[in-house]
Subunit: 902 residues, 2 copies
C-alpha cells in the first residue's frame, strides 16, 4: 500500500496520530489545512475539502516534479468523497462541484504562494451553471477568474493582458468597478480571456476539470521553490525544506449577489491590540479581491447592518476560535447567499504594539500565563516599539504648513523618513546598495515587490486596507507603513506623486507615520521612543525581569547614556570606552603631544594635563550609576587613531615640496615621519589594548588615577560608586600579571590619599582567541571577564570587520556561506565554543568570576539566548537595546525550563 | 633540627638519598659540587671541601638576602671538618687553611658567576705563611689575588685600579709578566691593593677569615640574580629558579713555582670531536689565569715534558672519568709542587661538529647506544653544521691577495662576514637594532660582553685560547669565533685594527672562518654547507630516521629547492606557494590586468595567458618529487600585493596635479582609484585565501587546471606525480563545500582530457582559529589538514607578525612576558591547544586525515616535538632545516619511549 499523501478534513485525527502532536499536524498539513480540519472537527461551517501533505510536495520536488506513488490516485479518491459530501459532481454541467486549490505551508507566507479558485469550470459547466443558478453574471465572472488565475499561476501568463481586457470592458460598459459588469459583458470577457490563454500558452484553456486540478496541484508544489517564496523565507528565517501542503476546498461564492460577500478579519485590532473585531469585507466579491487590496473594502462592523444573521454567527465563531487557540486569530470567511462559511483561521500577524498589548491583556485576563505572555512577544517587536517617533511639535507645524499629504490606514507603526522610490528595484538599489533612506511608494504592492519593501525605511500605498499585502508584510518585518492613502495620485511615467497641488518627484523626501497613518512632504524630525510611556511594554518587561537569570547591563560612555540605560532597566554599565573622550576638541592636541613625546618628562606633563579631564568624565557616570557596577575600559585603540590622516599630511608635504614652499614644511615632514613610524600593516592586530599599557604604562596609570579620584570624590558626596577597571586585549596571562597589580597599586594609593574606600574590581576583556583558550590562567588574575565579541569574532574568523562587512562578508551571508552575519549574531560553533570554554575554565580557576559580554552581540536576541546557556552573568548592550535584551534573557530562561508560548 | 644546607664531599650518598637520583644531586649541589663529590667518592685526588646547596641559595634570596636558619652554622661546622681533614687551621698564621669559594649551578654557566680564591689570608696569615713556606713571592701573589677578587666579586670594586697598579709594578720592575715580579714587589702591590680596597669601600680589607667566607658565600648567592647571569640564562634557556650552590674547597696552588701549574682540558677535541686530550695549561699560575684567557697558554700535550708523573696520572684520570660518565669531560686541575689535584669535571661543551663526531664514535665503539647518540646531539648543533662556509676559491684568492689578516684559534666553526664593532654595546646596537651583520672584535671578552656577542655574526679576539670566555660562549651559541689572533693590534681610541700594514676601521667589513681560525679583510663569499660531505652527520641522521615516527617534508616553490629538500631527506613537499610565481617580471603585468579587469571576459583572457606559465611552474616540481606528495597551495595573499604601492602612485598623481602636468595623469588617477578601492585596513584579515576563490573562482580554477595539466604531462613522461591541492584560509566548512568540489571537477576534467589518471588529494590549511575549532566539520570535506602556524599564531594571539616582531613583541620576549617568540616556537598552551583539538576532532570525522604543518615552526625543534605528540603525520619546513627536523622528530619519539641521553 502506498503512503497516505491525502487527508480529508475529517481525517485530522489520523494525521494527529501519524505525527504525534498538533505541531506535527501543522507541519504535515500546513497551517491552513490543519486549522480548517480543526475547525471542521469543532463543528464550524467549513466547506468540505482535503489536504495533500507537505510530504507529497517534498517527494514531488525531490523526484524532479513527479507525483509520488499513489498521491494522485488518493487525490482523485478524495474528490469522490467531497462529491458525496456536497452531493455535487466535478465537471457535471447539471450539478457541478467547483473547488479551490491553495497552498498552505507550516508557517504562513501571505501572498507568497499560489491559489487557483473555481476549478471545475469549463465552457460546458459554465453554461450549465448559468442555467441552473439563473445567474449568468456570477457564473461568467467566476469562470473568467479561473481562466485568469489558472493562466497566471499554472501557466505563468502575465496579468497585464487580462487586466487590459477588464479595463476595456469597464470603459465600454461605462462602469467603474467590475461588480457592475453584467452577464453578457462577463461572457465576452471570458471569450477574450480564453483567446489570451490560447495565444500565450499555445493550447486552449483545459476543458477537463481533473486535468485542471492536477496542474493546479503541481503549480502549488512548484511555487514552494519559486524565487518569491525563497526570498520571503530567507527574510523571515523559515527553513527551505518544509514544503507546502495543497488544500482542495469546495468553492463557496461571495459573489452571488448582495446577500453574499467575503472578508478577512482579526479577532483583535492587529495594529493596536485592542480587543475589538477588526477587518474588511466586500459584498458580492470573492476573497482574493479583499486580500489583494485592489478594491477598497468596508470595515467589518458594517457587515452587521448588511447581513446581520451571518455577522452574528461570525462574531460568535471568532470568540470561539480565540477561546480555542488562546491567541488572536486572523480569519477568512465567505457568505454565500446568507450562509456563512469559514475558509481559514490562523494566528493573526500584528504590530509590535498589538503583540504586546494582546499578550499583556490575555495574561491579565487569565487567558494565558505571564510566562506565555513573555514568550509571545518577540524581541524584534520590542525593538520596533523603541523606534523613533516623529517630534510632536514638528508634526503639528508640518500639518499647519500644509505639508500633510494624506491620511491613510496606519498599517505598521513607526516614523520613517526617506526619498521616494516608485518601484521595488529602485528602492532596493537606493536602499541596499547606496545606503539611502527610501520610502517605497506604490499604488499597492505584490509579492514581487518584497525585495524593495525590505530595503525601504517605510512603505506608502495609495490603495488597499489593513490586511492588504503591503500592510501584512510591513507589519511582519517592522517597517513603518501607511496604506490606502487614496488622496495621493501616482504618475509612474513622470515618476512623481501629487496631492492637493503638491508634487513630489521620485528622489525627493517624504515622511510617513505608520502609527497615525499620515504622510508628509519633506523630512520631519524624529524623537526617540519613550519606554516610560509604554505601559504594556513596561508591564511585560517587569514580568520578564522576574523570569530571567541573566542580568542586562549597558554600554555607555557619558552620563546621559548611562541615565537612559538606567531608565531602560540596565543593571550596570558593562562598557565605558575611555578613548572617545580623547577625541574632544580641547583634549586632542594634548593627546597628540603625549603620543609624540620623545621624553618621559614631556609625556608625563601631557598626561598630567589630561588627568582632570578624564576624572571629570567619570564623576557624572558614577553619580548616575550609584550602587551599580560601572566597567571602565582602559584605552584600547592604536595611538595612530589620534593622529592626523597619513594621506592628508603626505599630500601637504608633497605639494609644498613640488611648489618649493618652505613654510611649515619641516614641521609637516616631522609629523609625517612620526605618523609613518606609527604605521601598522594590520592595526587591528597591532599595538593596542594592554600592549599599549605594557609599552606606555603612564597612560593607563593616569586613567586608573582618574577613575579612583572620581570614585572617591562622588563617594564623599554620598554616592556609592562601584568602579570595575577593565583591561582590554589580554592574550597572555603574563601581560595581566605585569599590568594589573601595578594599576591596583595606583588605585590603592589614590584611595589612601583620599581617605576613602571604594568597592572595586579589576578584570579583563576576553577578545583574543588565546585569552579564551587560556582562561584558566587568566582567571587567576582577573576578577571578571567581559567578552569583546566584536574583536573575538574578528580574530576567530580572521575577518577585519570594516573590510569584510563592506566586502566579501556581504556575499558570504547572501550566498548562505555563512548562515548569519557573525558580527550581528554570535557564531555559536566557533566564537561561542571559545566563549563556553573560557567561561567553564575561568570559573574552575575562580568560581566567583563575573562574566559578561560587551560586544554588539549583547543586544542581539539570539546571542542573548546563547549567553544565557553559556553561563554569562550579564550581557551589556546599547541603552536602546536593553529592553530587548531583558525580554530575550527571560525567554531564554523560560525556554530552558520548558515553558512554551502556547 | 634545621634543614641540611651543607654537604661535605664525603656526604654525597646522603644527598643522593635526599634527592632520589643523580640529577637531583646535581640540582642540589650544582654540577661542579656533585662531580667533585663524585670524584672524591671514586678516590680521585680532590681537595677537601663541601657544598652549600642551591636550596640554601634560593632560601637566602627569597628571604631578602638572609641566611636560612642553621645554614651559616652548618658551614662553620663543615669548615671544622676540613680543618681536621687537612690538619690545617683557618686563620692560623702558623698552619693556615686557605679555601676557594665558587659558584656551581645545576647547568654550567661558564664565567657567569663568581669565584673568590685564597680565602683565609690576612696580613697576619700572609706573614706567617711567608715564614712557613719560605716563599714570600708566592704568598703575596696569592694575597693580592684574594684582595683583588674579593674586592671585585664581593665589594664590586672595578678591576681597573688594581690592573693599573700591576702594570705600574711591572713597568717599575722592568718585566713583562706578573710571574716575574719578586716577593717585595708583590708585598708592595698588596699594600697598594689594600689602599685601593679601603678607598673604594670605606673599610679596611677584612682581617677575619670567617667574615671573608661569609661575605664570599653571600656574594655567590647574590650573583645568581646578577644581570650577567640572568642574561646568560635567558639566552641559554635555563630556568631562573634553580639557584646556585656554593663550593668551599681547600686551596691548592699552581703558582708555587715551576713544579706547579694549572690547566683545563677536554678528554676529546671539543672543536673536531677527535679522540685526543685537548687543553691548555700554565706553569706557575692559578686557574683563573687560564680560564680568563689573559695569559697565553701551552697545549696540554707539552705538560708531559714539564711534569711527567702528574701528567701521566692526569691522563689516566681523564680516561677513568670518560669511562665513568660515558661522555666527553671538561676538567680543571692544579699541580701543587708535583702533586695533582682535580678541581672539577663536567660534561664538556663542544662544537656541533665535535658533538656529532663524539656521539657517532661513542655509539660505534659500543660505548653508548645509537638512541643515546641521537639524543646527545642537539638540533641546533645540526643547524650549525649546515651553516654556510666560505667559498674555497674565494678564500684562496683572498689569501693570495694578502687579505688574510691573521690565523688564530678556530674556537667555534662557521663562516661569518660583517662590519667590525669594537665593543659589545655597539655590536648589539648595529646587530640587533639596525639589523647589520657585525663581527665583534675585542682583545678578549668578559661576561659583560655577552649581549654584544649574541648580536654578532662572528667574534674575533686577539688574545685567549680555545677555552677562553669568548671561545666557550661562541661555541655554545653557535656563533663563529676566532680567538687569540695575536698578530692583530687593536686601537680602541682610533676605533680601528691593524695588521701587516692593513688598517680596518670600525664599520668596515671583515670575514672570519671559525673552522680554520682565519680572519680576512673585506667580504668573502660563502657557499652553503654540503650535507652529503658530512659523514658523521649522515650516519646520525640515518639512525634518527630509524627512530622517528613523524615524517619530514619541505616547503619549496621551485624545482631547485625541491631537489635540495629531497637530498636533505624530505619525504614530500608540504608547501609550494603559487603566488611567488605571479611576481615574475613577464607575468606581473598580466596578473595586474587580471586583477583590474572590469569584465569576466577580460579577466578570463588574462587567466588564459597565465595558465601556461603556471603549468610550467609545476612540471619541474613534479619530476623532482616523483613518487612523493607535493602540496600546492592555491593563491593566498590579497590581490593588492600585486599592485604598485599606493604612496608611490599617490605622490605621482599629486605632483602632476600641482605641476599642472596632464601626461599620464588620467591613467595614474584611474590606477590610484583602483588601488584605493582595493585598500583594506587589515589586509591580513581581508580578501585573501579561499575568500578570493569565492569572489574570483576563475583564478583558482586556472591554477588547478595548471596543476593537473602539469601532472598529466609528467605522468606521460613516466614520472609519478602526487599532487595535493591545498586551499588556504578556510574558516567555515561552507567555504570549502562551495570551492573544493568545483575545483575537483576541474581536476577530473583535465585528467579526462589528457586520458591520464593521477593520484591526488584536496585539502585545506588550518590557519584560522575557527577552522581549528570546527575541524570536525571541515575534515568531512578536506582530505588533509596543513596547519599554517604562522597565520594561526597571528590570529590566535591577535598579533600582526610584521608589526609585532618589529615592535612590542621584541619587548614581550625580552621582558619574559612571552616565554618564547611564538612565531619561532609553537605556543603550546594557545595555538597548540587549537591544533590538538583540530587533529583530534578532524580524525574523528575522517580517520585517514593527513595532518601536517607548513608554518615556519616546522623547522623548530621544540615545535617538531610538539607536533610529534600532537599526532601530526609530518612537519614541513625549509629545505635547510629538514635535517634538523629529522633529528628533532627522532628525539621526540625516543623521549616518548623513555630513552635518555645518558
Amino acid at each position: 500500500m502506498s503512503k497516505k499523501w491525502v487527508y480529508l478534513y475529517k481525517e485530522v485525527a489520523e494525521a494527529e496520530q501519524y505525527t504525534g502532536n498538533w505541531d506535527g499536524v501543522r507541519a504535515l498539513l500546513g497551517g491552513k489545512g490543519a486549522n480548517l480540519a480543526d475547525m471542521a472537527r469543532a463543528g464550524l461551517p467549513v466547506p468540505p475539502g482535503f489536504t495533500v501533505t507537505t510530504e507529497a510536495c517534498n517527494a514531488y520536488l525531490a523526484a524532479g516534479q513527479q507525483f509520488p506513488e499513489g498521491c494522485w490516485e488518493q487525490e482523485l479518491e478524495a474528490m469522490k468523497v467531497i462529491e458525496q459530501q456536497t452531493g455535487k459532481k466535478f465537471g457535471d454541467p447539471n450539478n457541478p462541484l467547483l473547488v479551490s486549490c491553495r497552498s498552505g505551508a507550516k508557517f504562513s507566507m501571505p501572498g507568497m504562494m499560489d491559489t487557483v479558485l473555481n476549478i471545475g469550470m469549463t465552457d460546458e459547466v459554465a453554461a450549465g451553471m448559468a442555467k441552473l443558478t439563473g445567474d449568468a453574471r456570477f457564473v461568467y465572472d467566476s469562470y473568467r477568474r479561473l481562466i485568469q488565475m489558472f493562466g497566471s499561476v499554472v501557466m505563468n501568463i502575465d496579468d497585464e493582458p487580462f487586466e487590459e481586457v477588464l479595463a476595456e470592458a469597464r470603459k465600454k460598459a461605462g462602469v467603474k468597478s467590475d461588480t457592475e459588469l453584467n452577464a453578457d459583458q462577463w461572457k465576452a470577457v471570458v471569450a477574450e480571456f480564453e483567446e489570451i490563454f490560447k495565444k500565450e500558452t499555445g493550447i486552449p484553456f483545459p476543458q477537463d476539470p481533473t486535468y485542471q486540478i492536477k496542474l493546479a496541484t503541481e503549480a502549488v508544489f512548484k511555487s514552494w521553490n519559486g524565487k518569491r517564496a525563497r526570498d520571503y523565507r530567507n527574510a523571515a528565517g523559515i527553513r527551505h525544506d518544509l514544503g507546502t501542503a495543497v488544500n482542495i476546498v469546495t468553492m463557496v461564492f461571495g459573489n452571488m449577489g448582495n446577500n453574499s460577500g467575503t472578508g478577512v478579519a482579526f479577532t483583535r485590532d492587529p495594529a493596536t491590540g485592542e480587543n475589538v473585531l477588526y477587518g474588511d469585507y466586500l459584498i458580492n466579491a470573492q476573497g482574493e479581491d479583499v486580500v489583494a487590496g485592489i478594491r477598497n473594502t468596508e470595515p467589518i462592523a458594517n457587515l452587521k447592518n448588511e447581513i446581520p444573521a451571518a455577522f452574528q454567527e461570525f462574531v460568535d465563531i471568532c470568540t470561539k476560535l480565540e477561546n480555542h487557540y488562546r491567541e488572536m486569530q486572523d480569519v477568512e470567511f465567505t457568505i454565500e447567499n446568507g450562509k456563512l462559511w469559514m475558509l481559514q483561521t490562523r494566528d493573526g500577524k500584528r504590530t509590535a504594539r498589538a503583540a504586546i498589548k494582546i499578550a499583556v491583556d490575555m495574561a491579565n485576563d487569565g487567558f494565558i500565563t505571564k510566562q506565555q505572555a513573555v514568550l509571545r512577544v518577540t524581541p524584534q517587536q520590542v525593538d520596533t516599539l523603541l523606534h523613533p517617533q516623529f517630534d510632536y511639535e514638528a508634526k503639528q507645524s508640518a500639518t499647519a504648513e500644509g505639508k500633510r499629504l494624506a491620511k491613510g490606514v496606519n498599517a505598521s507603526p513607526g516614523a520613517a523618513v526617506g526619498v521616494v522610490a516608485m518601484d521595488a528595484d529602485l528602492a532596493e538599489k537606493w536602499g541596499k546598495e547606496e545606503g539611502k533612506d527610501v520610502i517605497m511608494v506604490r499604488q499597492f504592492t505584490r509579492p514581487d515587490d518584497v525585495h524593495g519593501m525590505l530595503a525601504a525605511k517605510g512603505i506608502l500605498t495609495t490603495e488597499g486596507g489593513a490586511t492588504s499585502h503591503a500592510a501584512v508584510v510591513a507589519r511582519q518585518f517592522g517597517v513603518p507603513c501607511v496604506v490606502g492613502a487614496s488622496d495621493i495620485s501616482l504618475n509612474y511615467e513622470k515618476r512623481e506623486l501629487s496631492v492637493n497641488g503638491i508634487t513630489i518627484k521620485e528622489g525627493e523626501w517624504v515622511s510617513i507615520d505608520g502609527s497615525s497613518g499620515e504622510a508628509f512632504a519633506g523630512q520631519i524630525p524624529t524623537v526617540e521612543a519613550k519606554l516610560e510611556e509604554q505601559e504594556d511594554l513596561m508591564t511585560l518587561l517587569s514580568w520578564a525581569d522576574d523570569f530571567r537569570k541573566l542580568q542586562v547591563w549597558a554600554n555607555a560612555d557619558y552620563p546621559a547614556d548611562a541615565q537612559r540605560a538606567r531608565n531602560y532597566g540596565a543593571q550596570g554599565i558593562g562598557l565605558c570606552r575611555t578613548e572617545h573622550m580623547f577625541f574632544e576638541e580641547e583634549r586632542l592636541p594634548i593627546v597628540q603631544k603625549m603620543i609624540l613625546a620623545e621624553s618621559e618628562d614631556v609625556r608625563q606633563q601631557a598626561l598630567d594635563k589630561l588627568l582632570p579631564y578624564q576624572k571629570g568624565d567619570f564623576t557624572g557616570l558614577f553619580r548616575t550609576m550609584t550602587d551599580l557596577p560601572v566597567i571602565i575600559r582602559l584605552i584600547d585603540p592604536p595611538l595612530h587613531e589620534f593622529m592626523p590622516e597619513h594621506d592628508e599630511v603626505f599630500e601637504r608635504v608633497i605639494t609644498k615640496r613640488v611648489k618649493g614652499e618652505t613654510a611649515g614644511l619641516a614641521e609637516d615632514e616631522a609629523l609625517l615621519e612620526a605618523i609613518e613610524k606609527m604605521h601598522e600593516s594590520n592595526p587591528m592586530m597591532g599595538l593596542r589594548g594592554i600592549r599599549l599599557s605594557v609599552v606606555f604604562p603612564g597612560l593607563v596609570k593616569m586613567q586608573v588615577r582618574a577613575i579612583f579620584e572620581a570614585a572617591c570624590e562622588v563617594k564623599k558626596e554620598g554616592y556609592n560608586p562601584k568602579p570595575e577597571v577593565m583591561i582590554p586585549l589580554t592574550g597572555h596571562v603574563n601581560e595581566l600579571k605585569l599590568i594589573q597589580p601595578a594599576l591596583e597599586e595606583v588605585a590603592k594609593a589614590v584611595m589612601e590619599e583620599q581617605g576613602v574606600e571604594v568597592e572595586y574590581k579589576f578584570g579583563t576583556m576576553i577578545e583574543i582567541p588565546r585569552a579564551a583558550l587560556t582562561a584558566y590562567e587568566i582567571a587567576e588574575v582577573a576578577e571578571f571577564f567581559s567578552f569583546g565579541t566584536n574583536d573575538l569574532t574578528q580574530m576567530t574568523f580572521g575577518y577585519s570587520r570594516d573590510d569584510a562587512e563592506a566586502g566579501f562578508l556581504l556575499k558570504y551571508v547572501e550566498d548562505g556561506i555563512l548562515p548569519k552575519n557573525p558580527f550581528q549574531t554570535i557564531d555559536v560553533d566557533g566564537v561561542g565554543q571559545l566563549m563556553k570554554m573560557a567561561i567553564d575554565n575561568g570559573r574552575k580557576a575562580r568560581p566567583s568570576l563575573e562574566v559578561g559580554i560587551c560586544g554588539e552581540h549583547g543586544g542581539d536576541p539570539e546571542s542573548v539566548e546563547f549567553c544565557h546557556y553559556a553561563g554569562n552573568n550579564y550581557v551589556s548592550c546599547s541603552p536602546f537595546r536593553v529592553p530587548i535584551a531583558r525580554l530575550a534573557a527571560a525567554q531564554a530562561a523560560l525556554k530552558e525550563k520548558g515553558f512554551k508560548a502556547k
